[in-house]
């Protein structure tokens, strides 16, 4: 019980705030016309709980690195959650984590953590190559699992996780937070409402400028701390960045790609890394839609975006904007000013009564949500995980989303490495 008070006191008002937010969300989740498109929102229809011990979900988190620490920050604010254990085989990370979460039990070996009595769920935030074996061991131990993306290191491992989970009553969730992002949801709503017409292409990119390295106190730790750069641990930009956007593309298209082809290279950060510093992959879908993806680490001008395009418009799902293909004319006053500046004498069109200008838009796009959104879906996703554990109900559709994205990015990596088209593994079963 020692940990209880500390957890509450470390995030008391935050947690109350988040509880209110989730209460409102429960109403929204219960009434959304989109629910058929997002079955994984169903746990959110349950109201968030209080802090009584009976409601509490006890979580053990393995992998107290960058992402693990962010998840800790969210878990400390998630109503009805107690972080009961932390695990990391890198002592400094573990100690830093234990200092943040007073009362949590520390482990160096995740298998010992799985044996800890009273643990309801496991959050896996380790390097990619460990995901599958940890998921499988956690399933065997009867634990509910939240696994960071991407699902696994190989397609065979993705299949093994899906096989082990099939028919299970346990909760599984993948850390693709966009599945719970209100902004992405709004974009999906606009697509389903026909605002851009049929999706004819999705273009997504993530451009950064940096070597993507963590500081290393001793050269012997290079591979452990910079695992994202080495092939034995990760597939680099594809699994760590592209998986987010490819997941959204698969979701919006309601399908997995049938094939892909791409090129990648190390053309700038020639620092001993093994994984590409730029990746470029085109995915083909059965209905003839293509998804074009690239990630770059030597230029940040264009940043991150998912452009969903159709004959009637474009949605930029990261900046949250919609652009009409045939925008209504600019307001009369804008046309007038343009005309005067160009020496034209033309009529100023006006809409008459003042309620018409709602129709008017400009070519800079229109925001798809009016309020500023602070959650990228991580907070809502963790609340869904906790609710699902409490309800003892698996999250519908989640493993399929995890597998589709997980396999797609591994196909992309294979295509670049083998320099040939890679087909979706037809035998794959969720």
């Amino acid at each position: 019980m020692e940990s209880d008070s500390s957890v509450v006191s470390s995030g008391g008002s935050d947690r109350a705030h988040r509880r209110e937010f989730l209460k409102r969300l429960a109403v929204l989740a219960g009434s959304s016309a989109l629910l058929a498109d997002l079955p994984w929102w169903s746990p959110l229809r349950a109201q968030p709980v209080g802090d009584s011990p009976a409601d509490r979900v006890r979580i053990g988190l393995v992998g107290v690195g960058t992402r693990g620490n962010l998840l800790i920050a969210h878990l400390l604010r998630t109503p009805g959650v107690e972080i009961a254990a932390l695990c990391d085989d890198y002592e400094p990370h573990l100690q830093a984590g234990l200092a943040r979460v007073k009362g949590a039990k520390g482990f160096a070996d995740y298998r010992q953590m799985l044996d800890m009595p009273g643990l309801d769920g496991v959050v896996i935030a380790t390097p990619l190559y460990l995901h599958a074996r940890m998921c499988l061991d956690a399933f065997s131990a009867g634990k509910n699992v939240y696994c960071e993306k991407s699902l696994a290191y190989t397609i065979e491992e993705c299949q093994a996780v899906a096989d082990a989970y099939r028919g299970s009553k346990q909760v599984f969730q993948i850390g693709h937070q966009r599945l719970y992002s209100p902004l992405i949801l709004r974009a999906l709503e606009l697509v389903r409402n026909g605002e851009i017409g049929q999706i004819t292409q999705i273009r997504a990119y993530w451009h950064r400028h940096g070597n993507w390295r963590n500081p290393v106190p001793d050269p012997s730790l290079e591979r452990r701390l910079n695992w994202r750069l080495y092939r034995a641990y990760s597939c680099g930009l594809m699994t760590e960045l592209a998986s987010h956007h490819i997941q959204v593309a698969n979701w919006f298209l309601g399908a997995h790609p049938v094939a892909c082809a791409g090129y990648g290279s190390i053309n700038y950060w020639k620092d001993g890394r093994e994984l590409y510093d730029n990746v470029n992959v085109v995915y083909r879908y059965a209905d003839g839609t293509q998804v074009i993806y690239d990630a770059l680490t030597s230029n940040r001008l264009y940043g991150e975006e998912i452009q969903i395009m159709g004959p009637k418009g474009t949605i930029e799902a990261v900046s949250g904007k919609i652009f009409a293909e045939n925008p209504p004319p600019a307001p009369g006053i804008v046309q007038l000013i343009n005309g005067i500046e160009h020496g034209f004498f033309n009529t100023v069109p006006i809409g008459g009564p003042s309620w018409v200008p709602d129709l008017k838009q400009d070519t800079k796009g229109n925001l798809i949500v009016s309020e500023k959104l602070t959650d990228d879906g991580t907070a809502i996703g963790l609340a869904a995980f906790a609710n699902a554990i409490r309800l003892r109900q698996p999250i519908p559709g989640m493993m399929e989303q995890a597998c589709r994205a997980g396999v797609s990015v591994l196909m992309g990596q294979a295509s670049m490495e083998q320099q040939k088209e890679i087909a979706w593994p037809e035998e794959f079963r969720v």
């Binding site: 209504p328 009369g332 005067i340 009529t347 069109p349 006006i350 008459g352 009564p353 003042s354 018409v356």
Partner: protein
């Protein structure tokens, strides 16, 4: 501009208009500015035979609430709201300089009049600064121009088809004039089979139906505003008589009728054109 809004806004809880709306049947002494504005409104109310009336808020509110739910208010509710409307129920005590609502629940809304008043003041201040050419637009429904377009003899302003904004239904050529447009619109576009206008007919207590707009050109921004509203609720046969009491005015009424599933604009009535 901000000062005008502070005086006239019913959405600003601190405004003198809000003070009056809160005072119910108690007499209040309004600031001089509001007293003058309401005296002007009374004058226009008389000159338009009651067609221009700033006391219709309770009826407007009643219809707005019900149409949001896709239903009509009961006859009884309409009658009750009607007893809370009518400029004759706003009492002016010329000696004590106080205003008082005769019935509880009354409320005034200076809406369009406020826009006309503000645009006229703005035009006046530009003239005082010797600005010779200007185009002022308050959300397109209230426009005032000074002089003419830099590249032509007037400011041509086209009233567009509200269902097809690329099409102009009528063009006014404005010089030192104001143009005001009023019209009906559905309270809630998404619901309800019936289109209920946002303009209440003070004679029937019911909103105007269908899609109609009236645009009025006048030397005065305030009068353009008053007349565009008043003409909408005045039967066609009485409009010429109403307008004879005002300085040079031209006006046009556009009615949208459905034809082959589309709304088609038709110039139903015009005056001085």
């Amino acid at each position: 501009m901000r000062a005008h809004e502070r005086t006239m806004s019913r959405f600003d809880a601190e405004s003198p208009v809000s003070d009056l709306n809160r005072a119910a049947e108690t007499a209040i002494q309004p600031p001089q500015g509001l007293w003058e504005i309401l005296s002007m409104c009374r004058d226009y109310w008389q000159r338009t035979q009651g067609a221009f009336d700033i006391t219709l808020w309770p009826l407007n509110h009643l219809w707005r609430e019900h149409s949001g739910r896709g239903e009509e208010p009961t006859g009884e509710a309409i009658e009750q709201a009607r007893r809370q409307t009518g400029f004759e129920r706003l009492q002016f005590d010329e000696i004590a300089h106080t205003l008082r609502f005769q019935t509880k629940g009354m409320s005034i809304d200076l809406g369009g009049f406020g826009k006309g008043f503000a645009i006229e003041r703005l035009a006046g201040s530009l003239r005082a600064q010797r600005v010779e050419q200007a185009f002022l637009s308050f959300g397109e429904s209230s426009i005032t121009v000074l002089g003419s377009h830099p590249h032509g003899p007037a400011w041509p302003v086209g009233i567009t088809n509200m269902f097809q904004p690329s099409q102009t239904v009528h063009t006014f050529h404005l010089r030192n004039a104001s143009l005001s447009s009023s019209g009906t619109a559905p309270f809630n576009c998404m619901e309800g089979p019936k289109v209920l206008g946002q303009i209440i007919d003070p004679h029937s207590g019911r909103p105007l139906e269908g899609y109609r707009t009236i645009s009025v050109v006048s030397p005065s921004g305030i009068e353009a505003e008053v007349l565009s509203t008043a003409l909408l609720v005045t039967p066609e046969r009485d409009r010429a008589a109403l307008l004879s009491g005002f300085s040079t005015v031209s006006a046009i009424e556009i009615v949208y009728r459905t034809s082959a599933g589309k709304f088609v604009p038709c110039i139903e009535w015009k005056y001085g054109i």
